[in-house]
């Protein structure tokens, strides 16, 4: 086994849910659009513009193909945060006068959804932040019960960024259609991992990001359904690009990158996901050898790329310090700017201790069996070391119930 403290090479990347490397095939396709084909796709008067426009439209087709949509339903944005803001604020404001001013979302959504809804609350909308079940999934009956006569919009993510659970978008969409509620889905973490068939899914708006799927950062897209036709109010005003829904000169090279990344995803996702599932199972089996470990979120309705585990009685930030050989993220307060433990794990009803003790491993295209084996050995040795240091582990071993101890708050 390799030296567990080695720091002479970069850590093994297991944080694909945070971002992915740009696939070399994507990068190579992007470069000519920076240096050679640098025209503005909106320039209609010369070949520079025509070439750029053609590249943009080809990319639009590739993005549409991955999610089985019409290319005319794809609007370029700067990323999933912008797509979420455009969808939620754009649709809520457009339909407020006819449908009402109540919004439903889930407590475990990405901040780009939660905070967009909070902003609408400040503008006079009301909102329901539905708690998921302890496995992270939305209870359909509870969702249906949350709909009010004045509900205008619901926003539910397809794949959760922290725990990787997959929501039943079809069933939730059907409930929305029946009630006349606009349905937005944040699919930033889903492309290339879950099959998406927008021609048949009851979804009105869907957000995409390139950089979670081996494309570049700074580019994303919003699907805006044409049948039934969904209208949104623009949030960015200017030259009327993207049929007025999102002004701003199109970033040709970024768009080409997203198109190529999504083309590759479409071609390779079946075999890639099978390989990643094998790696995830190997990682899970290895880590479950460690005492007092808890998988966060449902394992069956989950992308294989994500494994979120709490190692009880070990604090997440000190664990991340200990495992410098791998690049992972933690739900611990100490790794966040807010000093609050993960709101996603809290919403599942996990105790603060377990939220503090969580590590998210996310596996991707370039993860190997050797990476997984190294990770398992590293985790085993470092958790043992930190538990030696942990007064909570000592108490647990002495049979003391930590939840019954009176702790001084600080």
């Amino acid at each position: 086994m390799a030296n567990m403290n080695q720091t002479d090479r970069p850590p093994i990347y297991l944080d694909y849910s945070a971002t992915t490397p740009v696939d070399i095939r994507v990068a190579e396709k992007m470069i000519p659009y920076l240096t050679e084909h640098y025209g503005n796709p909106a320039s209609r008067s010369h070949p520079y513009g025509w070439t750029a426009e053609k590249a943009v439209e080809n990319a639009r087709e590739e993005v549409a193909k991955l999610v089985n949509a019409d290319p005319r339903e794809i609007v370029w944005t700067s990323g999933a945060t912008e797509s979420n803001n455009l969808a939620i604020k754009g649709a809520a404001n457009f339909y407020a006068s006819t449908k009402g001013k109540h919004i439903i979302t889930i407590a475990t959504e990405h901040k780009a959804v939660i905070d967009a809804v909070r902003e609408l609350e400040r503008q006079g909308f009301t909102a329901t932040y539905l708690e998921p079940e302890p496995d992270g999934l939305v209870d359909l009956a509870k969702f249906k019960a949350a709909i009010q006569p004045d509900t205008v919009l619901a926003s539910v993510m397809l794949v959760n960024n922290e725990i990787g659970v997959i929501q039943d978008i079809e069933a939730i969409g059907n409930i929305c259609r029946e009630a006349g509620v606009i349905f937005h889905v944040d699919a930033a973490q889903a492309t290339g991992k879950v099959k998406i068939d927008l021609a048949n899914l009851p979804v009105d708006l869907m957000s995409f990001s390139a950089h979670k799927t081996y494309g570049p950062k700074g580019i994303g897209a919003l699907y805006v359904c044409r049948k039934p036709r969904i209208r949104i109010e623009a949030q960015m005003h200017g030259g009327g690009h993207e049929r007025g829904m999102r002004s701003g000169t199109l970033a040709t090279h970024q768009i080409v990158g997203m198109g190529e990344a999504f083309r590759i995803a479409h071609e390779e996702m079946a075999s890639e996901n099978e390989r990643i599932r094998m790696l995830r199972d190997r990682l899970l089996t290895g880590l479950q050898d460690i005492e007092e470990t808890y998988v966060n979120g449902d394992l069956a309705h989950r992308i294989p790329h994500n494994l979120n585990i709490s190692f009880n009685y070990v604090e997440g930030e000190s664990l991340i310090m200990a495992v410098k050989g791998i690049a992972v993220s933690s739900g611990s307060a100490c790794t966040s700017a807010s000093l609050e433990p993960s709101y996603v794990l809290r919403a599942l009803g996990r105790s603060d201790e377990l939220a503090h003790s969580s590590i998210r491993f996310s596996i991707g295209r370039f993860t190997t069996v050797a990476d997984v084996d190294y990770t398992v050995e590293l985790m085993k040795s470092k958790i043992e070391k930190l538990r030696e240091l942990s007064p909570l582990w000592e108490m647990f071993k002495d049979g003391i119930d930590i939840s019954k101890v009176q702790w001084a708050a600080h």
């Binding site: 611990s332 603060d352 201790e353 240091l389 942990s390 007064p391 702790w407 001084a408 600080h410």
Partner: protein, 131 residues
């Protein structure tokens, strides 16, 4: 998060990890913090008949700065009188470890742990004196 070399040193090679016999009348224990807050420190000191701290041990659940703060104070405590120990300020711990502002609470917790351990040993001693 970027840590100072001193924090990293204490974190990688923590000094005086472990426990002392809590039933020993010369051992004082201080347990501070809460699991929900992400840090718990247990500090134990052994005081001889001259009031000098002979030994100190710790166990800490928490971030790297919390572990380093408690490791550092066990080094500082040995050879001090309990009154000298009681006078240790969190600012001295934070300065020695070059803690960033968001980690100052770790040094506060270490100071609290010393005070709790000293209070425990004093309570044990006065209980003995009244017997």
């Amino acid at each position: 998060m970027a840590y100072s070399d001193k924090v990293l040193d204490h974190y990688e090679n923590p000094r005086n990890v472990g426990s002392l016999d809590k039933n020993d009348p010369n051992v004082g224990t201080g347990m501070v913090g809460a699991p929900a807050c992400g840090d718990v420190m247990k500090l134990m000191i052994k005081v001889n008949d001259n009031g000098i701290i002979e030994d100190a041990k710790f166990k800490t659940y928490g971030c790297g700065s919390a572990i380093a703060s408690s490791s550092l104070v066990t080094e500082w405590l040995k050879g001090k009188t309990v009154d000298e120990a009681y006078a240790i300020k969190n600012s001295a711990i934070a300065e020695e470890l070059a803690l960033p502002p968001v980690k100052i609470h770790c040094s506060v917790l270490a100071e609290d742990a010393i005070k709790a351990a000293v209070a425990d040993i004093k309570a044990k001693q006065s209980a003995r004196a009244t017997v």
